[in-house]
């Protein structure tokens, strides 16, 4: 702080902050607190007409949700998406980053833009495109499989394949973003390290294992956490492609919340699902950060 300007600007500062803080307070903090309260009430379609009928029912929403097979099914589907999707997304984006940054690569800028393009497209629109690509009779994917004399797959119609199909779409759409994070990480690795290692006779794999991977550690942590959090919130893809089917195999936690809250207007019940999801995401993130810190040390 420089001399002569020790006086404060309280008035101006609060005037500058007022719009942002007011908006965040009224349209974010307040709803989150209200959501917590809501989750302990029986707020339903009648309460929307007349809020006076709302009653506090303790933890009943939580016990009912946790005792309901629907919740565990949605949790299982969401976890399948997370467990399949996060490693696949990391592998695809890391592979693309290494390829683009390979010393022998050309036209790096062009390829970077091509790989990044799906990330900026509208999710709903490309989900519809992929829905047709997955068509068991006229879709391009099955046509390629059958021209290679491979068995075709009923991508979105088979309960075992529906979620993996959505994972594939998500990897295609998002790998470009994580690729950029990895590229930024790779650009920070000093080239001399590779040259010194090559002189010492280290092979390609050894150089990757002992130079590249450690240098990418911060990028890896960031990408894992961001992908993890995004994956827990899966909603639009199954909403557009499968409506949760077949046999409810693609109903996710956010979709369950949406159905309970905005289709059946069981707001109290839906709020409890939202908070369970929040707790789950927080837990998974903390666990992930801890695991990676242990591995690093």
């Amino acid at each position: 702080m420089s001399r002569g300007s020790a006086e404060r600007q309280d008035g101006a500062a609060w005037a500058f902050l007022a719009p942002a803080l007011a908006l965040i307070l009224v349209f974010f903090v307040l709803p989150v607190i209200a959501g917590l309260v809501l989750s302990f009430t029986d707020f339903d379609i009648y309460a929307i007409g007349d809020p006076r009928v709302v009653r506090a029912i303790g933890a009943q929403n939580y016990t009912q949700v946790l005792g309901d097979g629907e919740f565990w099914n949605a949790l299982r589907n969401t976890l399948v998406y997370v467990v399949l999707g996060v490693p696949l997304a990391i592998a695809a984006s890391l592979g693309a980053a290494l390829l683009v940054q390979a010393p022998l690569a050309r036209a790096r800028g062009l390829f970077r833009v091509v790989f990044f393009t799906p990330y900026v497209t509208t999710l709903v629109a490309v989900a519809i495109v992929w829905r047709y690509l997955y068509h068991p009779r006229y879709g391009l994917l099955d046509w390629i499989l059958s021209s290679l004399h491979l068995p075709t797959i009923d991508w979105l119609g088979d309960p075992h394949w529906a979620m993996p199909s959505i994972v594939l779409l998500a990897v295609w759409k998002n790998f470009g973003y994580a690729m950029l994070i990895f590229v930024a990480g790779l650009q920070n690795v000093p080239q001399e390290l590779y040259e010194a290692a090559a002189l010492d006779g280290a092979g390609g794999w050894q150089r990757f294992r002992h130079i590249t991977l450690p240098a990418l550690q911060p990028a890896l942590v960031f990408v894992t956490v961001v992908t993890l959090l995004a994956n827990f919130q899966l909603f639009a893809e199954p909403y557009v492609m499968t409506q949760g089917g077949p046999l409810r195999s693609t109903v996710t936690l956010v979709m369950l919340m949406y159905e309970q809250g905005f289709r059946w207007w069981r707001m109290g019940r839906a709020a409890s699902i939202a908070f369970l999801l929040f707790a789950l995401m927080l837990g998974a993130t903390l666990l992930q950060l801890r695991l990676q810190r242990e591995r690093a040390s």
Binding site: S2, S5, R8, Q9, A12, A13, W14, F16, L17, P19, A20, L21, L23, I24, F27, F28, P31, V32, A34, G35, L99, V100, A102, L104, A105, F111, R112, V113, F115, F116, T117, P118, V120, T121, T122, L123, V124, A125, V126, I128, V129, Y132, L133, H135, Y138, L140, W143, W172, L180, Q233, F235, A236, V254, Y258, G261, M267, A271, A274, L277, F278
Partner: protein, 273 residues
């Protein structure tokens, strides 16, 4: 010799990956130009035999998607302009103005970052209903007008403004608002442009909140309209592809025009911390 081989292998792998990445988007454009039913023949055609724009015409006449295009544009542009200025003022105040409680308020804001948006969505809907903002365009904009992440990014950027510059302006008798407008804004312009493009794309592509808050077809944004159309027109592949092109094209063009800035902004949060 060996080096040339390796070079071609890398280039080959890059081209295959690029083809796989671009294929769905190329097919989308191609199928949108086919005659009705042409894409659902075997073997699946890759290019239209007799290119036609009839589906695009249908989108604007029969399906009245022009209105949704207008809604999406209005929501994205107004949200972006307002949020950029609101976040800029707050981010600057946190970075450069001295006031009581600065650190404490900022820390509390950072806590809000860990709470996913869905947690507040149900009560927010009820709140907006009480304010008669459900099923209105402002209702679709409200949750995005101030962003904690946006404030954080402006604050990081604005910290590099030298205090002497601001104090000199104060000695000249400029008001705080005047200083913000003519000294600070020009300096932080790069981060604001980056954020603006980012917000424009995010708002355009958003789905869950507009789906919840907009119930009247005439108020729908393009993604919401598209998701509702696919229900009744699932057999009309070519028509749906035209709708997808209409939705994706504006953001795609915007991205290609500003790709350098956008890519810079997308990785900004990751390199710190």
């Amino acid at each position: 010799m060996k080096r040339t081989l390796a070079r071609s292998a890398v280039l080959g792998a890059l081209i295959v990956a690029a083809l796989f990445t671009a294929a769905p988007l190329v097919w989308m454009v191609s199928a949108s130009l086919m005659r009705p039913g042409e894409s659902t023949t075997l073997p699946p055609p890759l290019i239209p035999h007799h290119p036609t724009f009839e589906h695009y015409v249908a989108l604007f006449t029969r399906l009245d998607l022009g209105r949704c295009l207008l809604n999406s544009t209005l929501i994205a542009v107004v949200t972006t302009l307002l949020s950029v200025i609101i976040n800029a003022m707050a981010g600057y105040a946190f970075a450069k103005l001295r006031f009581r409680g600065r650190e404490r308020v900022f820390r509390w804001l950072m806590v809000a970052l860990v709470v996913p948006a869905q947690v507040g969505m149900l009560p927010l809907f009820l709140e907006l209903k009480a304010l008669h903002l459900v099923n209105t365009l402002p209702g679709a904009m409200i949750p995005y007008l101030a962003s904690v992440l946006g404030i954080f990014m402006v604050r990081q950027y604005a910290q590099s403004i030298p205090d002497d510059l601001l104090d000199a302006a104060r000695l000249d008798g400029a008001s705080e608002f005047r200083i913000f407008w003519s000294v600070v804004l020009p300096v932080i312009k790069p981060i604001l442009v980056t954020q603006g493009i980012f917000n424009l794309l995010t708002s355009w592509n958003d789905f869950l909140w507009p789906l919840i808050v907009l119930s009247d077809e005439r108020k729908f944004t393009l993604p919401v309209a598209l998701a509702s159309l696919v229900g009744e027109h699932v057999q009309d592949t070519e028509l749906m592809m035209a709708g997808a092109v209409l939705t994706v094209l504006p953001v795609l063009l915007l991205f290609l025009a500003f790709q350098r800035l956008y890519i810079q902004g997308a990785t900004m949060g990751s390199t710190k911390g």
